[in-house]
Amino acid sequence: MALLEVSNLEIAVATGGQLLPVVRGVSFEVKANETFGIVGESGCGKSLTSLAIMGLLEGSQVRITGGSIHFDGRELTALSAEDRRAIMGAQMAMIFQEPMTSLNPVYRIGDQIVETLRQHRDMSRRQARDRAVELLDLVRIPEPGRRIDSFPHQMSGGQRQRVMIAMAMACDPKLLIADEPTTALDVTVQKEVLDLMADLQSRMGTAIVLISHDLGVIAETCDKVAVMYRGKIAESAATGELFSNMCHPYTRGLLNSIPVVDRDVEWLEAIPGRVPTIDEVLSGCAFHPRCAMAEARCESEDPDKRDVATGHTIRCHFAEVGSA
């Protein structure tokens, strides 16, 4: 039984009196101790998916319009706001892209960790503070006993992201959602943070949903990957399978677009056209205007999800394993 089961998730944005679908029919499962990666370009719906799972869409112009999110034996979309809050920060925690702004600038970092602990655990101030020091030590903040009284602006971006991780791990969550956790960080710091996340996962058995635009980060950290384009999962497979048997023309295009450090490439095989905006109406397969394989059928008919290998699904009329 998977820890997290998302099925047929539909999310829409309300603008000017109408609902624009931004996530359509997204389904995936994440088991304990597993890292699930969602990769895609801006506006593909990856961040909204993660916010929907966490329950942070409430109160915005964005809402879940269909599908289910099953977590640890409970249906999250059916829970009351209060029950939802009991899970947030406790069984399920989240870290965000911008470590520089994700912490409240007016409170000491220790107090912000203590706040999470005391929200979900029956702890005294003293106990919570001791635990916060332990957590800072766990995320390898040097001199945790002293740094606990620092304000966020006194720390570097990498350290703040560690504090965010400490805060997220405070109540031993079963699931950690990381939305572009290293995008704002330098590569050397990125490596440290990713290593730390992997280390914590192996110690605590946390499941991780990692959202990223960077195929390299996904390849190095995830067990399974979903590639999203325009609100749908274009291709999904175990990481090894995906990178050795890439099928979907979008996934392949994405990979070929990346300039690599290990060899010289004269010209990059760029995907033509541009990333569609959310208010564009696209018939058939959303990728067809940019796809080299596209035929008349792609323009009119949206491909269904189909298996091309064990656990390897794609949404494309033509692509097959080995067709590249």
Binding site: G89, A93, S102
Partner: protein
């Protein structure tokens, strides 16, 4: 903190000096002989000649300024033409009324402005927000004296709940119950300013609500009320605190009108009466006192600001 305060006080000196030059020049900008202006219409030529010598009016203007500044620093702001008393004493006699009025007004502003602002922001987009923020804007659009006149008409003349004008000192008969004389004036004075604070609290909270760290707070599973107060309002308070300096300036301005409407023996009415009486030494003195006070209050606001926002370094 102490070092910072001293530094800030030192940094005030240039501005204060510049402001004092303007205040000093005020007398000289009035057409006519300054000595005659300062002594008023009833002065004899001998008196004028004496004061001209005393003030060094035959000296170059910078010497006159230094002489004047020296006197000011010793507490000598000149003599009122109308009262024939030292200006400082005249101002002092209005201080009790004005200070009590300002304090009571600030209490109303905080009492009404902040809670209504919070409600307006947390109910953003609902009818509650529309009524409170629209109502606040309406109150900010009412001329102070008009509001004062109608409060007198309704609550003093009509219902007879409060006295309509004047203010006996709290040391007179009645003691602190005399404060009831200040209820209508302070409400009049508070109305437009509380309205501005409501709008400001609302706007800053809506700004803060969009910041990333609020999402972090929600992700902790905190109750929305706790997020609103502990995370959104607390951060919005930084911007609100910064505005209290301006509120003071607005209070001084509107106190002039309010004290006139309610015939309160405060500094505000003193300014207006002195202008009408051409009692220039008093006008000059009051302006100087208010400018100094305003700068001190702005300094206090800055210090409070630094305490509210740890990012402001106190170096």
């Amino acid at each position: 903190m102490l070092v910072y305060t001293i530094k800030r006080l030192l940094a005030l000196i240039p501005t204060l000096l510049a402001a004092s030059i303007l205040v000093f020049l005020f007398i000289h900008l009035i057409p006519g002989d300054p000595a005659a202006i300062l002594l008023g219409d009833t002065a004899t030529p001998e008196e004028v000649a004496a004061l001209t010598r005393e003030m060094g009016l035959d000296e170059p203007i910078w010497k006159q300024y230094l002489l004047w500044l020296g006197n000011v620093l010793q507490g000598d702001l000149g003599t009122s033409v109308f009262f024939r008393e030292p200006v400082l004493k005249v101002i002092g006699s209005g201080a009790e009324t004005s200070i009590l009025l300002a304090t009571m007004t600030m209490v109303w502003i905080v009492l009404f402005g902040i809670p209504i602002g919070i409600v307006s922001a947390t109910k953003h987009g609902t009818w509650v927000d529309q009524v409170t923020s629209g109502g606040a804007m309406l109150f900010a659009s009412i001329p102070t004296f008009w509001l004062g006149l109608y409060l007198i008409l309704i609550f003093a003349v009509g219902l007879g709940w409060f006295p309509s004008s004047g203010f006996p000192s709290v040391s007179d008969d009645g003691g602190w119950t005399n404060l009831r004389y200040l209820i209508l004036p302070s409400l009049t004075l508070a109305a437009p300013n509380a309205a501005l604070i409501i709008r400001l609290v609302r706007a800053s909270m809506l700004d803060v609500a969009r910041e990333d760290h609020v999402r972090t707070a929600r992700a902790k599973g905190l109750h929305p009320a706790k997020v609103a107060i502990k995370h959104i309002f607390r951060n919005a308070l930084i911007a609100v605190a910064a505005a209290f300096g301006f509120t003071f300036a607005a209070l001084v301005s509107e106190a002039v009108v309010t004290e006139t409407v309610f015939s309160l023996p405060g500094i505000g009415r003193l300014v207006v009466q002195s202008i009408l009486r051409r009692d220039y030494p008093v006008i000059q003195g009051v302006i100087l006192v208010i400018v100094v006070l305003y700068m001190v209050i702005n300094l206090l606001v800055d210090l409070a600001y630094a305490r509210l926002d740890p990012r402001v370094s106190l170096k």
